[in-house]
């Protein structure tokens, strides 16, 4: 298994081409600093201040970070990734700032450039360090602040910048927009699965992603079957189908907001009570946890991950599953942003168990689960290929140790990264999608 399909090979070619024609900002170092400064100032609130004031520089967080553990490069220590923010806090915000200035070196644009590598290329925002820190510091939150500052300063890696701009300006990703969705819809219709596109009103707004359209149309078909079987009144919008949010990853506020608004507006206009997020961890984080804050108001609809939707439909008796006959044991890989950052741990496991599968846990699991190594846009950044592969090797060993027949996951990005890693290392554990497994075992 895991033989790369043609679509997958083509997708990797598009990945390799990313960032070659990216827009750049013609700003002086002073302008970049000023923009970063402005962002840091507005984002260093009480929470962040307590974090900045509490770190004891024990270095334990290094042991949680797959990039450090895999490479033993001390620069990948989580606390070090937020060091510029801490220095900024100490000099500009701390109640001891006048004193701190005597000892704390001022931040400059070269620092920002150096840390752009650390926070974008060597961090997947997985939050594992947050669970380890003995002081309870939310390091990944602070890394997000770093990313936002760097985005404001125009220092996002080319690949992410290109994708983020494409999404904001053209409402496409990897060139996938409304037309590509329509053509997938007609292909699926030929195979007997209808996608009710652009219904004027619907109770459930189902999202998908460009990655699913290009690589995993079976996942879209699977969601559609689940919707149908569970009797939902549902739709997919050709204007607002994209669940991914590149602005969440790159730290660019305008991009993040526009992607969120597009979905929220569509959900409101079609009167949806529920927005269902497909298998994408960061999309779940963006919609479930960030969108209300981004828009400044509570949302008039509920956001569910597809696995939550399935678990609920099973409970409500709207869906039933038969035992999975082609699989015996599986291990479930918790996508960081769906689980550790998003809180969805139980539902996917419940669903797998309903199908009679023997669910084996990896040595680190649930809140301590090891990241696949390439989540959250990381796999798009060509310069981080080496450390990503090393991080993947850690993950692979834990997965192998379970001796399960397959690894199931609930995120396209994890799936892609595991597939890339498998291809490079000749690893042969099948990587399968939860939603596709469910759709393959729907009871009549």
């Amino acid at each position: 298994m895991n033989t790369p399909s043609q679509a997958f090979t083509e997708f990797q070619v598009s990945l390799a081409q990313l960032g070659q024609n990216t827009a750049t900002d013609d700003w002086s170092d002073d302008q970049r600093m000023e923009r970063a400064r402005h962002t840091f100032m507005s984002r260093l609130d009480r929470r962040a201040a307590v974090d900045m004031d509490t770190c004891i520089h024990c270095g334990m967080c290094a042991e949680a970070c797959h990039f450090y553990v895999a490479t033993q490069e001390e620069r990948f220590t989580p606390a070090y990734k937020i060091d510029p923010l801490r220095r900024f806090y100490r000099r500009e915000v701390s109640p001891m700032r006048l004193f701190n200035r005597l000892f704390t070196r001022k931040l400059d644009a070269d620092d920002l450039r150096e840390w752009s590598e650390l926070v974008f290329e060597a961090c997947t925002g997985c939050g594992r360090c947050d669970m380890m820190c003995p002081m309870g510091i939310n390091i990944s939150d602070n890394i997000n602040i770093m990313r936002e500052g760097l985005a404001a300063a125009g220092l996002v890696p080319g690949e992410l910048r290109e994708l983020q701009d494409e999404q904001r300006e053209k409402n496409t990703l990897f060139g996938v927009g409304a037309d590509e969705l329509r053509s997938v819809a007609s292909k699926l219709a030929e195979q007997g699965t209808q996608l009710p596109l652009d219904k004027v009103s619907a109770d459930v707004l189902l999202l998908t992603t460009a990655v699913e359209i290009r690589l995993f149309p079976e996942a879209i078909a699977a969601c559609a079957k689940i919707m149908q079987k569970s009797g939902a009144d549902w739709t997919i919008s050709t204007e607002a189908f994209e669940a991914s949010n590149l602005g969440l990853i790159s730290g660019d506020k305008a991009s993040r907001r526009s992607a969120i608004s597009r979905i929220a507006d569509k959900a409101k206009s079609c009167g949806a009570s529920t927005v269902v997020v497909p298998e994408s961890g960061h999309a779940y984080q963006a919609l479930r946890w960030e969108s209300a804050n981004e828009l400044g108001e509570a949302l008039p609809f509920e956001v569910l991950a597809i696995s939550e939707y399935v678990a609920r439909a099973l409970k409500d008796g709207k869906l039933s599953l038969k035992p999975a006959s082609d699989l015996g044991s599986v291990t479930y890989h918790d996508p960081c942003r769906l689980s550790r950052q998003g809180g969805v741990f139980a539902e996917p496991r419940e669903v797998l168990q309903v199908m009679g599968l023997d669910v084996r846990e990896t040595d680190s699991n649930r809140r301590e689960n090891l990241c696949c190594g390439g989540g959250c846009g990381e796999y798009a950044i060509s310069r981080s290929a080496r450390i990503r592969q090393q991080a993947f090797d850690l993950k692979r060993h834990e997965l192998d140790d379970t001796q399960a027949d397959a690894v199931v996951t609930g995120c396209n990005n994890c799936r892609i990264n595991l597939m890339i890693g498998a291809e490079k290392s000749g690893w042969d554990m099948p990587v399968i999608s939860l939603v596709e497994t469910v759709a393959g075992n729907l009871a009549e």
């Binding site: 974090d51 004031d53 606390a79 109640p95 002081m135 969108s291 969805v344």
Partner: protein
Amino acid sequence: MTLLDFARGPALQWSLIILVAGIVWRVLGAILLSTRKDLSTPRRKSGLKDGMGTIASRSLPASAFEKRIRFQHITGYAWHLALFVTVLFFGPHILFFESILGFGWPNLPNGVVLFAGAIALAILIALLIRRATNPVQKLISNADDYISVIIVMLPLLTGIIAFAHIGARYETLLAIHLLSIEAMFIWFPFGKLMHTAMTFPSRFQAGTSFGRRGIKA
């Protein structure tokens, strides 16, 4: 005024004033910063239970991570315990607290306390060496990290010397011991000794912010 009078009088008073005012200033300075209300719908109600849960859990072994951080956990526990024993159960210390608080408590034998003090000092020396040599810690350390350790070592060192009556008159040794403690009080609010006041609030906020998303931090 002798050195001891100075150490017991104005030096003690002023260092305590700086200590208390500094802590208050720094805690308020962080706590009074605004923070935006989280508008997302919580998965479940979170609050005291999650916050207290994380305060407790971060003091316990860390399951899957534990084998990688055992050294820090054990030294961390041993150091804080040895410090408490030394500070709180040494006879003369208790007399000193009694003169301020008006009540005392039973002391431990001097030999036990001396042993605890020596352990505490030894751990600090080990941690200092580790900080200067371990690649991760070396990279992330700043001046404060070294100053704070050294300034805590001094009272232990001068205390042991005073106890053993080595090198000078007892009054002088005692004065030096007091002055080293006062130096630590003065440094306290400026550096990372502040974690004493910040750790629980920080863990608490981690507990509640993950808790509302349904994650046991």
